[in-house]
Symmetry: C2
Subunit: 363 residues, 2 copies
Amino acid sequence: MEQSHDYNISDRQRHILSIIIEEYVSHARPVASEQIVSGYQLNVSSATVRNDMAELERVGLIVQPHTSAGRVPSERGYRYFVENLMHPKALPQDEQRKIRHQFHQVEMEADEWVRLATSILSRTVHSAALATAPRSTAVRLKHFELLAISESRIMLVLVGHDGTVAQQMLHVDEEWTQEELSALAGHLNAALSGKTSQEIDSWVNQPDNLHSILTIAPSVLVTLSGMLGKLERHETAEIYHEGLANILNEPEFRQPERMQQILELFEHGHVWTSIIPSIINQDGVQVIIGDEAMGEGMRACSVVLARYGLGEHLAGVLGVVGPTRMPYSRSVSSVRYMSQLLSDLLQKSYNSPFSGQGETQSE
Amino acid sequence: MEQSHDYNISDRQRHILSIIIEEYVSHARPVASEQIVSGYQLNVSSATVRNDMAELERVGLIVQPHTSAGRVPSERGYRYFVENLMHPKALPQDEQRKIRHQFHQVEMEADEWVRLATSILSRTVHSAALATAPRSTAVRLKHFELLAISESRIMLVLVGHDGTVAQQMLHVDEEWTQEELSALAGHLNAALSGKTSQEIDSWVNQPDNLHSILTIAPSVLVTLSGMLGKLERHETAEIYHEGLANILNEPEFRQPERMQQILELFEHGHVWTSIIPSIINQDGVQVIIGDEAMGEGMRACSVVLARYGLGEHLAGVLGVVGPTRMPYSRSVSSVRYMSQLLSDLLQKSYNSPFSGQGETQSE
DNA sequence: GTTAGCACTCGTGACAAGAGAGTGCTAGGC
DNA sequence: GCCTAGCACTCTCTTGTCACGAGTGCTAAC
């Protein structure tokens, strides 16, 4: 997806491409040659621009909806723009200040900051924003409980050292009393507290540790380690979103099927599960245009994402979703600024958090 | 909101109102007198129907968008229909079977059943469906943890006897080590496990119980009891929703502001917080038409809700959201059937659940 | 390589006209 | 007193036509 074509086009053609994208993004209608020469200092005539546009169309960077219409950027055009032509500047000082102000207005917790960040983001870029709740990427077991639910069901509730929680149901053949389960949980808690998913796995593999264990213990342990793993991979992290109305109002989502697809994206988180882990392990802002990385149906829709967080502790993903006709430069700056700001806030508020087993919280 | 007006109208007028609603619901366009006499066996002429319609309009049950248009039901018209004219029949056998089939297809947990229920509901009524996750309305403390997050922050994580969890941050003046916190938590857990919010409150008020307690204990206890209370009132219950696209496609939500309102309803749960507790304490299906109980902006939108669950254990709310022009009879039957089915499923799968302190799970 | 000029294509908006939908009213019938 | 046929009136919706304008591609000249 990063083929970084050159397309063999002249500087002026590149410039024209930029202009077409800029104009199309802001006015949502095909851009004409005359419009380009009149609005920008190109020092050439519209005829020349037309020739250049014909060339840009030949290489596939722009398309013409019909004869006698202006040109519209293609997906490849946007991609080229994002990779070679765009120079996202930092967000203007006053906007930065306005945003910071909203955060400092109220005293809040990490989750709510993230929620507020999606809200602010959706308003600054006028499109939908989303973010995953901040989670540690290296979760240690703090405590777990086994609860008898019915004859054959046990619920396992887990608390991580950073306060994350997870629940899962376990099916068993025999019947267990709550007392037996509590005893088992107590026993295992003492042995496993402070361990990561991997450490639990290797603890299980040491033969010494298995003799005093009840028959359901192995499945409990497997489940436990699996749950910690899911937490680490952020598979269970809630996804906040806001500003859907902003993009559903865009002309390109007026058709029912398009709208359907967008809503699918937000109603069912599973579209993200493949993307988020890859974002969370990268630095910088990632731009996904059209259906480049999402399912086929995601045409007409682009996503700008970045990781936020504190090292491997308490990290998440945040970004904006909009039509392919999106102000990429502004989106990228906003997402970058917001992820930075959020990271700083978390840093300040949770300084030296969860290091080691959480046995101290000194500076 | 339950004034149950009579309006002094004849049987035929009532019948005509029913027909207008039925026709308008299915075709979304004003209903004409001729359309009524031709489609239904009324044995009167269209002129007579017109006279009756004039009367129905006079009392405010129907309105005319403009001269020379048919009639459209008003909000009061719908309300009258729902209360006096509608006879929701049980869902057809084959539909019931189809729905049950989808549930029995897969082995699942309570949460996922509820999620599946919203999904099925949204498809059977072709509109948006929502449900709150099943929660106990009488939560007993199973266990809680205190986690040192930073100098002045402690996270309190609570596990209920039914597996529900809650987290909350606590601000403190002094600095506590994780060891101190764990010791305190251990001490209090031993004393409070199995207690409800109220029982904790009264335990706190017994003077004997306060001597051996560290200085932060009071705020821990207050927080703890508050968190249990919120769980009981379902304030923290997640709200699942599905099928937004179904209703956003309806002609009445094509205007941006309307769409905005609907999305607001689903993006921010707070609109529901006032309604859900009142639904969960009632039996039967509740119909909210227009802005009767929601904020002003909720015009053009109706909600059909019902409680599901097992007595006071593991209950929730489920229902459908659609335009006021909604097939109320079908919605009511569907919601009723679904809530019944879900209750049965939970019953069978969690038989004799969480009774008392959860110390046994025998039949 | 650039540009002026021009022919050609297509979408768009305005406008009129007509059809048709539906009503309210009136006068007459049971 | 209730019902109905008939009719005039009002509005909306559709359709067709037409002219305009936007935009292009091409060609020939600079």
